[in-house]
Amino acid sequence: MAWLKRNWLMIFAALAVIYMLLPIAVIIGFSFNDPAGRYNFTWVGFTLEHWKNAFGIPELNDALLKSLELAALATLIATALGTMIALALVRYEFFGRKASNFLIVIPMATPEVVIGAALLSMFLIYGISLGFVTLLIAHVMFCISFVVVVVRSRLIGFDRRLEEAARDLGADAFTTFRKVTLPLIMPGIVGAGMLSFALSIDDFVISNFNSGTTVTFPLYIFGAAQRGIPVEVNVIATMLFALTVVAMVFTIWQQARAEKLASIRPDQEGEPAVPVAATATSAASG
């Protein structure tokens, strides 16, 4: 009983972890299922058939490729625009700074259904046909704010004396930025890019409003849900999950190594690492 009293918090947390991981286990488990009918809801038997046939459904492949293309483009644009905003907000005192901050926060505090509906309203009134371009516009729009938040958190811990040192050694403003500033804030930019990519590839609601006949991966799933989702969707979801885990572990390992290298140099105050988890934390806490 005393043990229970001492450890109830950890037991509660462990139960919560099981709750968080249960659906993921179901997704992975059911990728090996051999369903009797069209619906992959009840466990029938183990098969590797769908793993062998992972890319055997043309519409699913097209949707997946469309999503990857969209996410890559949206990430590129949003990361560039968001990093520029973060630089302006952290480094300069200027008229309109508060208003700019407000404009960055508001999209994150707006339900997706409102964002999607508002964009569709504008496209309808102007008679703009929906498709890849309108999706790209929407995805860049909702990614920018998150990029700003992540890059800003990296810029705040930045030691400006490093830039001054570069200038003292005769580097011009552009060289200083390219050789000193950019490499130092790169982990923040990479983190922001990864977050954008994840947000874009996962987006359903806003895309649902502005896709026209273009089908992304989530939109394919939504369409297929009515007539029974093929097991291959679970297979691809499992692959994406594994890829993300590997990418995350690699990033954390790289950062830990970079920190170690940095700590060898003398007179280094040792800026705290920003692992992916912390990056996501700062993004989530807006």
Partner: protein, 288 residues
């Protein structure tokens, strides 16, 4: 180092313009569209200050509004009740397990939102082991269903938005200086008093951020109600989605989405008046 006064504006311009043109202006147009009259876009909806869209759609869909408020509210409270102890455990008790716990919290983000929700459909479906356990324990009647009920939708919302609660709470708890708690204990505060008087006030911004980040998306969500709620648990998001995309009754849909936005703004405004705004606005740090 002297810098041109123009530099910050040049850096801001492209990104902020994107947000203005594709976020602020569309909000204006959805407001405008909600005042259009006429029967369809093809036959010519026209702008004619048709305020009846608001009164008609509000009286038609008031149940969905109230239901969204209720479901999102309950889900937010559940997230806080589950999330705070978990964040606390990760920050102070987890030790070497900390990274594993953090991984579990963000792992749901590594799979698609729709597939996660569909996994809940599997978990809560009639033949699932989870449901038979609930039936054996008489939490659910012998022949009762879980899928297509209000608790199923709330469970889905709670699950899907729990990380948005835990992460800001964890960020706030991690910053708590443990010496403050020790000091409280030295001054004869019980563990409970120290928590109530020290830890809780310090982490208040995290609670504000977490509840907002949970409540706002839950209020507008239609995916959980669509897959887990069946026909009788539609939320306002479902109504807006089907009016826009299936029924193409744009003016009513725009009116509803406008009311939803305004309602959330009002709730957020009142809430941060009581709870402080720093959590929502982010760090107001002065530039170096």
């Amino acid at each position: 180092m002297k810098r041109s006064k123009l530099t910050p504006y040049l850096l801001l311009a492209p990104g902020l313009l994107w947000l203005i043109v594709f976020f602020v202006i569309p909000l204006y147009y959805s407001g405008k569209l909600s005042l259009y009259g006429g029967s369809s876009l093809e036959e010519g909806f026209r702008f004619d200050w048709d305020w009846s869209n608001f009164s008609d759609s509000l009286s038609l869909y008031d149940t969905q509004f109230v239901r969204s408020l209720l479901y999102a509210g309950i889900a937010t409270i559940l997230c806080l009740l589950i999330g705070y102890p978990v964040a606390y455990a990760i920050a102070f008790k987890a030790g070497k397990w900390r990274n594993l716990f953090l991984f579990a919290v963000i792992a749901p983000f590594f799979t698609t939102y729709l597939i996660r929700t569909l996994a809940w459909e599997t978990i809560l479906s009639d033949e699932s082991p989870v449901v038979s356990v609930l039936q054996t324990l008489h939490i659910v009647p012998e022949d009762g269903r879980v899928l297509a009920t209000a608790p199923a939708v709330i469970a889905g919302l709670t699950y899907n938005f729990l990380p948005f609660m835990i992460l800001p709470l964890y960020a706030a708890l991690e910053r708590v200086d443990e010496r403050l708690i020790e000091a409280a204990n030295d001054l004869y505060a019980s563990g409970r008093t120290a928590f109530r008087k020290v830890t809780l006030p310090i982490t208040a911004p995290g609670i504000v951020a977490g509840t907002l980040l949970t409540f706002i998306p839950a209020m507008g969500d239609y995916v959980n109600a669509f897959f887990l709620g069946g026909a009788n648990n539609k939320m306002i998001g479902n109504t807006i989605q089907s009016l826009y995309i299936t029924q193409r009754d744009y003016p009513s849909a725009a009116a509803l989405s406008f009311v939803l936005m305004a309602g959330i703004m009002a709730i957020v405004f009142i809430y941060i008046r009581f709870a402080g705004s720093e959590a929502l606005m982010g760090e107001e740090e002065a530039p170096a």
